[in-house]
């Protein structure tokens, strides 16, 4: 049986009629064959109701070919779970069961991931059975949802013997706001703002992915060259701010105060640069479908350039200092290791995946916008520990800084473009758009109805793939290393919970 997939490039759209609807057995075997044969990764796997029918939709990414493979199948109430054959599916299948009550038969444990009806039979969020380590010496540590610091809510259960963690279970859903449901029947005046607030620290990655999604669904919405450069500036400033903040937090967790103090301030410089562009430190309102909410004028360029140079210099200094300390390296190295095989098995993405020797970065392998014309070489490391995750950030900070300066100096001239045309999306289409948010791969997928409205809207935040990786990193670790391991991933609760 020849392989049947709808092939898209990122971002891309196609008429729904081109999406194959396969009998389930074929759907399953072709998907597994692509995962093994083409080294494809699961980008998204979800169910939706199409009239009276229930459909499964699978999006795979083949990084080496730069292609997205889409396929679907119609099922009735249940299907044979993929998880025993490929662990990448396990979180997606829990989501499918929770959202639709569709049973993936053979899945080891279909616990709710967001405590959102109808598949969730828990009375209260977090109130359910947990993995348990039995034995006299075993003990359990439960933390959250409200934590000691100023962070988002999540519940963590550690099964320990003495100081050693045997298993960490992570239970989320506290930040669930029902965003995917609110997006249905859009696009409307709320949609863009909802995208920007899926995950507040990745607003530009989200608004950018959303802009690309709509642009692929409407021909006359086409961004100018200047827009492409300005979007890249927004994305890389966002990456810089977050990476810098994380480096400071990592320094803090190993009690190296100088870098913590410097990075805490320098992170703010990048946020303030973004605020210079659009008034908001998180880039709200900066990117919109078809163009930009704000232009970058000469006065801003003149202000940003020296500011960027000074902050870049100070940041390099703060990080060189961090990486030159033996005490810091000793704490970073061999802590919270996820080996490359595990990383591939569980489908990790983003900085954490690159730190575990996975060669994937959408900017390099599925380039979009500015990165199409300006090849980006992904940073990657092999050791998979806290050190590697810190190192990737350091490398990416250097790369982002190197991209920003020339871009600001050579902004393409403003074209007198007519006002953005009103939104009218192609009816009965499917579109996929992905951006490399600072944490990793962000995927948006929309299916439009006869009127060109969103019949389905699926969001897969990078943290959706990676929370389980944090649990894996903790296996066999000292429980006191949890804060450090956690920071080295710095995953999003709200992005996961939506």
């Amino acid at each position: 049986m020849a392989e049947q997939f709808l092939i898209l490039r990122n971002p891309g759209a196609a008429p729904l009629s081109e999406l194959p609807i396969l009998p389930f057995d074929e759907f399953r075997s072709q998907a597994l064959a692509a995962i093994i044969g083409r080294k494809a990764r699961v980008v998204a796997f979800f169910a939706y109701a199409h009239g009276a029918a229930q459909r499964l939709l699978l999006i795979l990414a083949s990084d080496q070919e730069g292609k997205l493979l889409l396929s679907s199948s119609e099922i009735e109430g249940a299907f044979e779970s993929f998880t025993p054959s490929s662990a990448q599916f396990h979180w997606f299948e829990r989501e499918i069961y929770e959202q639709h009550g569709i049973m993936p038969k053979g899945h080891p444990w279909l616990k709710p991931i967001r405590f959102d009806s109808p598949g969730s039979n828990a009375d209260e969020p977090g109130v359910c059975e947990y993995f348990r380590l039995a034995g006299e010496a075993a003990h359990e540590v439960a933390v959250g949802p409200v934590h000691a610091g100023v962070i988002e809510p999540g519940h963590f259960r550690f099964q320990c013997v003495g100081e050693q963690v045997y298993f960490l279970e992570i239970s989320l859903g506290y930040q669930h706001r029902g965003i995917e449901k609110m997006l249905r029947q859009g696009p409307d005046k709320k949609s863009l703002h909802l995208m920007e607030t899926c995950c507040g620290d990745s607003s530009c990655a989200y608004s950018g992915a959303y802009a690309h999604l709509l642009e692929s669904l409407q021909e006359d919405l086409c961004p100018t060259e200047r827009t492409q450069v300005m979007r890249m500036i927004a994305w890389e400033l966002e990456r810089l701010a977050n990476h810098t903040g994380d480096m400071g937090a990592l320094a803090n967790d190993v009690a190296f105060r100088p870098t913590m103090a410097y990075c805490g301030r320098i992170r703010g410089e990048f946020l303030n640069m973004t605020a210079e562009l659009c008034g908001n430190r998180f880039g709200r309102g900066l990117i919109r479908p078809g163009g930009m909410g704000y232009d970058i004028n000469d006065a801003i360029v003149a202000k940003l350039l020296p500011w960027l140079q000074a902050s870049g210099k100070e940041l390099r200094n703060a990080l060189e200092l961090l990486f030159s300390r033996a005490g810091v390296l000793d704490r970073f190295e061999n802590t919270g290791t996820v080996d490359s095989k595990t990383a591939a098995n569980i489908g990790m993405v983003g900085i954490a995946a690159r730190a575990s020797a996975q060669k994937q970065d959408l900017r390099s392998y599925h380039p979009y916008g500015w990165y199409r014309e300006n090849p980006y070489e992904a940073a990657w490391a092999e050791s998979g520990d806290v050190y590697a995750r810190a190192l990737i950030r350091y490398e990416e900070i250097k790369k982002s800084l190197a991209m920003l300066e020339p871009a600001l100096k050579k902004l393409p001239p403003a074209e007198k473009n007519a006002a953005t045309p009103p939104l009218s999306l192609q009816p009965k289409h499917i579109a996929v758009s992905m951006t490399e948010a600072w944490r990793g791969e962000l995927c948006l997928c929309a299916i439009t109805d006869e009127q060109g409205r969103f019949e389905q809207f699926k969001i897969v935040d990078p943290s959706f793939h990676n929370w389980y990786a944090l649990a894996m990193a903790l296996r066999g670790e000292q429980i006191s290393n949890f804060p450090l391991c956690n920071k080295s991933f710095n995953l999003s609760y709200c992005g996961h919970d939506l």
């Binding site: 029902g178 609110m182 507040g200 607003s203 703010g268 100070e314």
Partner: protein, 283 residues
């Protein structure tokens, strides 16, 4: 050791002058909206139609009311209005003690400046805060956390985040209150010593913000906990948060606007030498 000292020299002294001096807000910052209803056209509803948050109401006597407690400060209404009724100032000071003070019908700046005597009496000199995120996008938490960095350093003003609600004077809530956080929020509140004050930080806890109407959220905390202070913003700028906390404590850190030549500022000028140009508000 030598490298640490060298680096310390390079990094310099970067603590900000705020709150002793007014903050310098970004050029494009959208702060307190100023309304001029005398310009409002009777049969126009452009602002209402464009507002994603349902923050604007047309009044029967003509003119509009803009509810800062719902506004996410996107600025679309100001662009949609051809008559110039709505303008956004760069005023960062947005907190109010009463919900109704957030309803804007004019260009006044008349928020009540005096705190409630009981708050000033108990927290006038030191404020211990427990923060709870109840839904939301995490941005409010990030910009509140920024107040711990050296450029803002709220600890020098005796404001501190404490790890346990048992040690807290007040609860600072962010997010629209997701149904899944209802139980945890209640439990946290009940663990606090009385009188447990509540600050709603950001537009979400005031009204649900952009998430209002979703079946997964409660449209703000008001039904469950009555806030003692309302701070709109999406998210509020760190300067807005710090100003709000000081306002809450009843502390006046600098003379009122207009009184330019004052002692604190003269002192600042004397120290100007050791300061880099743009460090007044970088955190």
């Amino acid at each position: 050791m030598l490298e640490i000292l060298k680096s310390r020299l390079l990094q310099g002294y970067r603590a900000g002058k705020f709150p002793r001096r007014a903050p310098v807000m970004p050029e494009r910052f959208l702060g307190l909206p100023l309304i001029d209803n005398s310009l409002c056209q009777k049969d126009c509803s452009a602002c209402l139609q464009t507002c994603p948050a349902g923050a604007i109401q047309k009044e029967s006597d003509g003119g509009i009311t803009l509810d800062c407690g719902k506004c996410i400060f996107c600025g679309k209404c100001a662009r949609a209005c051809k008559s110039g009724v709505i303008k956004f100032s760069r005023q960062h000071d947005l907190a109010a003690f009463e919900r109704k003070q957030l309803l804007r019908r004019d260009a006044s700046y008349s928020y009540e400046l005096q705190p409630k005597p009981i708050i000033r009496q108990l927290c006038g000199r030191s404020l211990k805060i427990r923060q709870v995120s109840a839904g939301g996008c995490g941005a409010c938490e990030l910009d509140f956390n920024v107040l711990n960095t050296l450029a803002w350093d709220m600890a020098r003003l005796h404001i501190q985040v404490v790890a346990s609600p048992r040690h807290a004077d007040c609860l600072l809530v962010t997010g629209p209150l997701s149904k899944n956080m209802l139980l945890a929020l209640k439990k946290t509140y009940l663990s606090m010593p009385e009188p447990a004050f509540v600050i709603a930080c950001g537009t979400c806890p005031i009204s649900g913000g952009i998430f209002a109407g979703s079946e997964a959220v409660c449209d703000g905390i008001e039904e469950v906990l009555k806030p003692d202070l309302y701070l709109p913003g999406c998210p509020p700028h760190p300067a807005s948060i710090m100003e709000a906390l000081l306002r809450f404590m009843g502390r006046q850190m600098r003379p009122m606007e207009g009184d330019r030549e004052n002692k604190a500022q003269k002192e600042d000028k004397a120290q100007e030498g050791d300061k880099k140009p743009e460090d007044s508000l970088k955190a």
